[in-house]
Amino acid sequence: MQTDEQELIARILDGHAEDFGYFLERYSQEAFAIVVRLVPQQEDAEELVQDAFVRAFNRLETFEGRSSFSTWICRIAYTTAVSWLRKRRMKYLSIDEQPKLTDTEVDEALDDESCIEELRRAITLLKPDEQTLITLYYYDNRPLNDIAYILDAEPNTLATRLHRIRRKLYLLMKHGTNN
């Protein structure tokens, strides 16, 4: 974390709440990008990001600077969105049995640019944590350690999960609409 951000946090904790505006200006769009993928309705997503920032403000003294502020706020935004989804009891498709697939088959499908629409549909059927994981890894190119912090998971398990999600995406593309 940058030193001036640490100083700002110290000032906010000292009672200068208006300095939190800096973090809102700088990181709200990033947090919104994570939330809006899980909660596509604009108004709901905006409210959840606001909730996340209010929670972050109220817990600012617990921020130890072990991660960047960006990663920290993304984690709060992610957990806020996931608990909102849980309350709404949204259903996501779960595929437990994994038929025998070769990695080549999966790799080819995920590289085939003529299947983008099927892939988009398949992604919406993934669980929130799976959607967030592949987005942060493949689209945002975030390091696995940051993703592990945001998703509250062990970095070692993420590679396995990514591998499983790729296979699941392939299955959803091929048979998703029938499941």
Binding site: A17, E18, F20, G21, L24, E25, S28, Q29, F32, A33, V36, R37, Q42, A45, E46, V49, Q50, F53, V54, F57, N58, D107, A109, L110, D111, D112, E113, S114, C115, I116, L119, R120, I123, I134, T135, Y137, Y138, Y139, N141, A159, L162, H163, L169
Partner: protein
């Protein structure tokens, strides 16, 4: 799991179809909500402090009356029976009212700042 040359379709599928943005007044609205919640929390704490003070005072008075109530009552009765018992009452009452008014005026002045 190299990302550079493969997974082109996956990367394109993950890209948002349209650019979604927060409204430009989002930071302002959020800060306003934070300040509002802070104000409500302060009021809640203030109310809690008043309730705690009242409860503690009542418990203290009750304990005092329970422990030394009869002695206090006897002392009061004996003081009231003396002829010059109320000499200091009127000046004391005047001082109390005067200081209460000064206190009220000062707190009004302080809140204006």
């Amino acid at each position: 799991m190299e990302q550079t040359t493969k997974d082109r379709a996956l990367m394109q599928a993950l890209a948002p179809k349209e650019s979604r943005q927060l409204p430009s007044n989002f930071p302002y609205l959020t800060l306003r909500r934070i300040k509002e919640e802070q104000r409500l929390e302060e009021r809640r704490q203030h109310r809690m402090a008043i309730v705690t003070t009242v409860v503690v005072s009542l418990v203290g008075i009750a304990a005092l009356l329970y422990l030394v109530g009869s002695i206090l009552w006897q002392s009061l009765v004996s003081i009231c029976n003396q002829p010059d018992a109320f000499v200091l009452v009127w000046p004391t009452l005047f001082c109390l009212i005067f200081f209460a008014l000064v206190n009220h005026w000062l707190s009004r002045q302080y809140r204006k700042v």
